[in-house]
Amino acid sequence: MSKLTFSIGGIHPADSKLARECKIEVLPLPSKMYVSMFQHLGAQAKPIVAVGDKVKTGQIIAEPGGFISAYVHSPASGTVKSIAPRKDLAGFNVMHIEIDVEGDEWAEGIDLSTELVTKIPEDREFILDRVKMNGVVGLGGATFPTHVKLNPPPGKTADCLILNGTECEPYLTSDFRILLERTDEIIVGAAIMQKVLGGCKCVIGIEENKPEAISAVRASLARLGYPGISVAVLRKRYPQGGEKQLIDAVMKRQVKSGGLPIDVGAVVQNVGTSLAVYEAVQKNKPLITNIMTFTGDVVPAERQRNYLFRIGMPLSFIAEQAGGVPEETVKLVSGGPMMGKAIAFLDAATVKGTSSILCLGEATRRHPETPCISCCRCADACPMGLEPFLLKKLHVAGDLAALEQNAVQDCIECGCCQYSCPAYVPLLDNIRIAKGQVMGVIRARNAKK
């Protein structure tokens, strides 16, 4: 059988899944945690606790600040020490609730047993409510509130729920580990989402470089016997896990520029989100933990780790638990090496979407830019079919109309162009700025209408 993949562009960076054999370890609790009010896409959450309040693990401490927003829960029990702006990993000030951790006493009504609950609730509203109240957001990177995505607007129906288990970014292994260690829960989570979406089919996309995960999922599917769930084996290629690329690969449909996946009948959820949905619905357990990888090319093999962390632990605490940052590190990154963010502030708190701490050595250092030689590798690599070399030139020329005409706003910032450029031209840096400017123009025009 030929393996599925998306149809335009893409690259094949080295896999570097150095932590793939490392079992998930549970981190101890630190003495302080900082819970960000801005760990999801959309409006900031609003704190509903006051300084000095006693909170329990899993208790709601902030509520959604708008339609697209999410609840936030306390990751441990203790006292609210402060509610104040604090730097996130990139160094921007964001409102955080600081908690002095005193223990791990859980709030009422949360099922802490590890027993698998396979019976899916009948009531759709009940499921959506649980997903919403437990603060579930997409864990594939974008952290879009899951209850919104699971509730398509009237007139739109889902044909296919795609579960994203591609983990196409090099180094990251957290999705791979949960596919191995939490397989059944992920499948039940998928069945729950299938039910909410009106019983559409579900395809779990996994890249061919994870054969253990593929067989684990197949075995679990056979054991649990939910109808309409299958595995799609995908060719290894980046950015296969991009929402639009995955839809193209699995359903052979393309989302129109400016459109949403539901327009072509697709809903894409990460496998980590599926696990969070399972815990939220079956266990009433809020999203206060996630899995992350501590890895990097300068981290020795015996110090690679996959951790289950409480959301709000400082990155520095996790790095310390992992034995410190290697001397050879020149850049710390949170997320994948292609789309992750460089860490400017290591004391920053983890958020719902945190997936890794990468310690990268000299190889990550940028080379000085040299002249473009028009080799067109950037255009060949772009999964959206854009011409990055042209967009860069248009950006330098300041031609916003031509940038819009050449679809700069379609860029998904996957980094394939800059990765491929033999002349080390910072294509994505330029395109990001251009995209921001063009989006501003489009918004202003739409506001006038």
Partner: protein, 339 residues
């Protein structure tokens, strides 16, 4: 390993790089690509040296030294941008220039060629990546017009491997063109020169780099495997030449040479595989490349059949170079989600 609290205190964190994604880069660089092109030219260079001997080594050496020195000097002292000097890129131009000249070319003509290639065609447009015309071909055409005798009196192969008895003469295409001009048919022209076509296809007098089709193709396959070039431009050039030559040859074999002959002579392979595929001076999209290749094929055959020059590959590539900006405007990548 440094402990994290220590690291935070010791300001080591301040030395960490903070820059936007991506944080990885592919192993390919401009240098590695240009080096691959030089490697790909090596089989043909070796064959050239074996067949033409010391004279070809001299042309090659003069070309390389002049091109490298000129590019360095111009970048460093005239443009004040030493980073514009790229040794491998200058070497590609130098080797291609040497392969485009008769091996009897005097050293000073080779040097003038290097001045035109590097100084005029490349650096005066802004250097690497900025030139409109292929530097080696520009130089070849400049020399062809300026020194017609030296540039068309090709030596027959006479190197470390003995090839034929004749020591010098016109190229086969030149012979036929002269014959046709004076009213002879192709077979009469060839008979008058004492050569026959089958013989010509084995050991063809011409510029140094045209000598071995096999070596050129082998080098090109290396470039394909290394994903340095795509096959569309050469394929469309060769297909166009084949189709046109087949049709005309079928109509009148005494007036028009056939496809085999046209593919194997006059630098068609060297041009199609290594000069028309130059990144900077060829279109960016695949379909643009096809149009560009068809254009080159058409122009070559029109020059050969109806023009006054015997070959025409250089002119065809230069003419199509002019159209690249327009072709780039007409053809774009296929975009995701935009029908």
């Amino acid at each position: 390993m440094s402990s994290v609290p220590e690291m935070l205190k010791s300001k080591k964190m301040d030395k960490m790089i903070v820059s936007p994604s991506p944080h990885l880069h592919s192993p390919a660089s401009t240098n590695s690509i240009m080096r691959d092109v030089v490697i790909a030219l090596m089989p043909a260079v070796i064959v050239m040296v074996l067949f033409y001997g010391w004279s070809s080594i001299l042309v090659l050496a003069v070309s390389c030294v002049s091109c490298l020195c000129l590019e360095y000097a111009i970048a460093r002292w005239l443009m004040h941008k030493p980073e514009l000097f790229n040794g491998w890129s200058a070497t590609v131009t130098a080797v291609l220039l040497a392969m485009n000249l008769p091996t009897t070319t005097p050293w000073w003509i080779v040097f003038i060629g290097a001045v035109v290639a590097i100084g005029v065609a490349k650096m005066s447009f802004g250097g690497l990546g900025q030139n409109i015309f292929n530097p080696a071909i520009t130089a070849r055409v400049f020399l062809l017009i300026s020194f017609p005798v030296a540039m068309t009196n090709w030596s027959m192969p006479q190197g470390f491997i003995p090839a034929v008895d004749a020591v010098s003469g016109a190229t086969p295409l030149g012979l036929i063109k002269e014959g046709l001009k004076s009213g002879q048919s192709i077979s009469e022209a060839l008979a008058a020169s004492g050569l026959d076509v089958h013989y010509l296809l084995r050991d063809i007098g011409g510029s140094g780099g045209e000598i071995s089709a096999l070596a050129l193709v082998a080098g090109f396959i290396y470039l394909l495997v290394r994903k340095v070039v795509k096959p569309w431009i050469p394929l469309s050039i060769l297909a166009t030449i084949t189709i046109i030559a087949t049709i005309f040859h079928a109509v009148d074999p005494e007036q028009f040479t056939g496809p085999n002959f046209n593919l194997m002579t006059g630098g068609v392979l060297l041009g199609a595989l290594f000069m028309a595929t130059d990144y900077v001076t060829s279109p960016s999209s695949n379909w643009g490349g096809v149009v560009y290749g068809i254009g080159i094929g058409l122009i070559v055959m029109m020059i050969r059949y109806f023009g006054s020059y015997p070959e025409g590959m250089s002119f065809a590539i230069l003419i199509m170079n002019c159209f690249v900006p327009l072709i780039n405007k007409a053809f774009h990548q296929k975009k995701y989600g935009r029908a």
